[in-house]
């Protein structure tokens, strides 16, 4: 008998059917991957199990007995613990506080901080994150470390069903391996594990069984390995896909759009030289957290006291604020990493979000031109194929992929000549990803210069004309043409240690007071070197 079983579950939001008469079951001692595009109903499915959403019809059975959860706490008490895509950590509280937040150890009725700390240390050790100090505030940790704390917190609740919603999308490669090892151990302990991921190779690495969802329906379930990746993708999008990535064309050099020489910042970026040609897609690779994000922020004028020289269209420019960067003189756009905080104003409407960066060109004097605004909104929605009910709905009502399309459409509206992308496909579905790849290629062919940071090596290989591999705030390798393959990228990302050590030794010899880069929040490269 399956451990957890859903029978005839239906859930509607207004006119949209998120889950349509879904039957689903998962067994103890198995890793079960749930696959599907955005809006396929995966999130609603797990929210139903986790007590966040109450189904309109249908039944949940746990060990054959009907159950019903009014709150996440009730689901947790029944052993169903979910790690959500949106982090559920409290940024101002410490790691130890967060791990024990739901049921802290108590003495004389008060929270026993020593016991709480020991518990945090044990759980962090279990997932090999001894480098995280339980006293640190979550706010001060890197995204990858926060996600690991989230996993420790979930384990602390002794789950019988552990649900991971895109839980690996923020992790560094080494942490992903760690998490997979832990998942296998938990599975062998007899826990049922449900995982949602958009990364095919991760599913191949860890899943025992797969279920595909499309448009709120459960299409099929099968043992991992029974279907090819292509078959699965076809099942997910319900249509055949042609090439994964748009074809690259032979480029002719038509001049330089942006060039940086000796670019550096605050001990995190060192002496970076890069050149992006007009119509070129330049990739940024390497392990996560090696300064790629800082480089993009620096080129968008967000960082203070950068050193070195940046030229746009051959002229030296001052990058001191996003206002200057996006101005007509420079024409730079940055698609940020976190669409929920940096990309969108969630309570504002889709129309407002689309036009917020281009209001200057949609205005007559101080007043916004309503007709021009409407035209621009309609153009943006059509151009990116954004699925919206009404442009006046809050952008928060859209699915993740459509939200990301709004972010991209908003920046395209500024008619940028240089586009910086910070991991734009994180946590979005295959269909939308392919639309984005095609769009980037079209933009490049029209002469736009694109700097593309991605944590997914396949994207760098498929999309980019050249790839720069970064390590510890430096560019350590440039790959062109046929050299851009997974082996080269991974090899240079990892072998980077040797190169970086050599550089570090040289620096240390020259200046004994130089401080190591690994000091921040335990996300240093030293840990990753071994794996």
């Amino acid at each position: 008998m399956p451990h957890l079983q859903l029978v005839g579950i239906t859930k509607r939001y207004g006119g949209v059917t998120a889950l349509d008469d879904v039957d689903f079951a998962c067994e103890l001692g198995s890793v079960h991957a749930v696959l599907g595009e955005n809006g396929a109903g995966k999130s609603t499915l797990i929210k139903t199990m986790a007590g966040v959403v109450r189904p309109d019809a249908g039944q949940i059975l746990l060990d054959g007995k009907p159950v019903s959860f009014a709150t996440p706490a009730q689901a947790n008490a029944a052993g169903i613990v979910c790690i959500f895509q949106e982090l559920s950590l409290l940024p101002d509280l410490s790691v130890a506080d967060n791990i024990s937040i739901a049921a802290p150890p108590r003495r004389f009725g008060l929270i026993d901080r020593h016991a709480q700390r020991r518990r945090a240390e044990e759980l962090l050790a279990r997932i090999r994150c001894e480098d995280v100090n339980p006293l640190s505030r979550i706010r001060d940790l890197s995204l990858s470390r926060r996600q690991m704390v989230e996993i420790a917190k979930a384990l602390g609740q002794d789950p019988s069903v552990l649900i991971l919603d895109e839980a690996t999308s923020a992790l560094t490669a080494a942490d992903v391996d760690n998490v997979f090892d832990i998942l296998r151990l938990l599975r062998d302990d007899g826990i049922a594990i449900l995982t949602i991921s958009h990364r095919m190779h991760e599913i191949e690495a860890v899943a025992d069984r797969c279920s595909v969802f499309r448009n709120g329906r459960h299409i099929d379930s099968f043992d991992q390995g029974a279907r090819s990746a292509d078959e699965i993708v076809r099942m997910m999008i319900g249509r055949d896909i042609e090439a994964h990535f748009p074809a690259k064309r032979e480029r002719v050099d038509t001049g330089t759009a942006l060039e940086a020489r000796g670019f550096g910042w605050a001990g995190r970026l060192h002496d970076i030289d890069l050149r992006i040609g007009k119509g070129e897609i330049l990739g940024l690779g390497g392990l996560d957290g090696q300064g790629q994000k800082e480089l993009l922020l620096g080129l968008f004028g967000v960082l203070k006291n950068t050193v070195g020289e940046v030229t746009v269209d051959g002229e030296v420019v001052r990058l001191d604020s996003p206002v200057a960067a996006k101005g007509d003189a420079l024409g730079i756009a940055l698609i940020p990493e976190d669409r929920k905080t940096e990309g969108l104003m969630l309570p504002m409407s889709i129309a407002d979000n689309l036009t917020i960066a281009s209001l200057a060109r949609l205005s007559n004097g101080p007043f916004i031109d309503g007709a021009a605004l409407e035209r621009a909104v309609a153009d943006g929605i059509a151009r990116m194929h954004i699925k919206v009910g009404s442009p006046d709905d809050p952008v928060a009502t859209l699915s993740g992929g459509n939200q990301q399309k709004v972010v991209i459409a908003k920046w395209l509206m500024t008619e940028p000549r240089i586009i910086l992308l910070n991991d734009p496909t994180r946590g979005i579905d295959v269909g939308t990803k392919q639309e984005i790849y095609a769009l980037l290629r079209t933009l490049a062919e029209a002469g736009t210069a694109i700097l593309y940071y991605s944590t997914d090596y396949e994207e760098l290989i498929g999309c980019c004309d050249r790839v720069l591999v970064m390590y510890d705030g430096r560019v350590i390798r440039e790959l062109t043409g046929d050299d851009i393959d997974e082996h080269e990228i991974i090899a240079s990302s990892l072998n980077a240690d040797a190169i970086a050590d050599a550089i570090a030794d040289a620096v240390a010899d020259a200046d004994t007071t130089a401080h190591g880069p690994a000091a921040t929040a335990g996300d240093g490269p030293a840990r990753r070197a071994g794996t």
Partner: protein
């Protein structure tokens, strides 16, 4: 061994970094208060300490009261009104036999807490923003205060008033223990001002246990991220109710003390407003974030101390009363700016908006 040592040093560094705001406001207070005493003709004497402790107690309580809604991410505009209402009530009930007085004290405390609970109910069950909910309830509380005491006055037990507003020696002398305060063991603490003792008692035995309870932790969690707090299965409504109730209790203690200090009650509306605004200033000076989630009532106590010390200094230097609000504002602005110094260290301007 070396590992443990490194762990301790790392822990200490993290703790210091997380408490910079509190340490700063303590340092500012020590500096200001030391300066005041050094320039006072009778500086560093028990008489000055007692007088100052008396002047600061009510504001410290109201600042503690304000801390709780601020930690939740809101503002409470009724703390001054609750203080005033309890002050008026106290001027009616703090007399008669010892039992009657004791019951009166309990009634005052309960009234403060009840007012806070009313605020909490309006916010939690009415789903109304704290700032506007308390603007309304505050007006109601002031109305009740005026009803209780249309004109200033009242009858407060003299012994209790005397004992509460002097040093420990006077308590012993008034109520006849420790050989009327002459016992040798009593001498080291005989000159400690009573309001200071009360302040420490409230901080240690009310605030600290609350901050370390699950309810208190939930208050911080709500201010830090309400969605995440909910998803973690925390008792959100209960924590909000508790926070407002405790806030009302603290404000009530302030009103109770004001009655003892002035031996009377006064439904003074401008005074209530001034206390409310000063409480917000004290909370901010004390390092509590107006966005919620970060800070503590201990910081707010020191914030109140800093605010009051600024006025003490005016008395010494005989600054024209007409200029005092101006100076007060400037000093306040400077004090609040201390908290903004971190902005200069921010190298990633995106961090300014986090």
């Amino acid at each position: 061994m070396s590992h443990a040592k490194r762990g301790f040093a790392a822990d200490l560094r993290i703790r210091l970094a997380q408490n910079t705001a509190l340490l700063t406001v303590i340092a500012v207070f020590v500096l200001f208060y030391g300066f005041y005493n050094a320039n006072h003709p009778r500086g560093f004497t028990t008489a000055v300490y007692i007088q100052n402790a008396n002047e600061v107690f009510a504001l410290a309580m109201v600042a503690m009261a304000q801390t709780l809604p601020v930690l939740l991410g809101g503002l409470d505009l009724s703390v001054g009104a609750i203080m005033t209402l309890v002050n008026c009530l106290a001027s009616l009930v703090l007399n008669g036999s010892p039992v009657q007085i004791a019951l009166g004290v309990l009634l005052c405390m309960a009234t403060g807490a009840a007012c806070g609970l009313v605020n909490g109910c309006v916010v939690v069950y009415g789903r109304i923003q704290p700032i506007i909910a308390t603007l309304a309830t505050g007006a109601v509380f002031l109305g009740l205060a005026l009803f209780l005491r249309p004109s200033p006055g009242g009858d407060v037990d003299g012994d209790l008033s005397w004992a509460a507003t002097n040093d420990l020696f006077e308590i012993a002398a008034t109520y006849g223990f420790a050989d009327d305060g002459e016992a040798a063991w009593f001498q080291p603490i005989a000159n400690v001002p009573v309001p200071l003792v009360l302040l420490v008692v409230v901080a240690l035995f009310v605030w600290l246990p609350f901050a370390r309870s699950v309810t208190g932790r939930t208050v911080y969690a709500i201010g830090s991220g309400e969605g995440a707090a909910y998803m973690s299965g925390l008792p959100i409504d209960r924590a909000r109710l508790a926070a407002f109730t405790l806030g009302g209790f603290f404000a009530g203690l302030g009103g109770l003390y004001l009655a003892l200090q002035t031996s009377s009650g006064n439904a003074d509306i401008p005074q209530a407003g001034a206390y409310t605004l000063n409480s917000i200033a004290a909370v901010v000076i004390g390092g509590t974030s107006l966005l919620g989630g970060v800070g503590s009532a201990i910081g707010s106590i020191f914030g109140a101390l800093v605010l009051r010390t600024i006025s003490f200094n005016f008395r010494i230097f005989e600054i024209d009363p007409l200029l005092q609000p101006l100076f007060e504002g400037v000093v306040l602005l400077a004090a609040v700016s201390l908290g903004a110094i971190r902005v200069l260290r921010v190298k990633n301007t995106l961090d300014l908006f986090r």
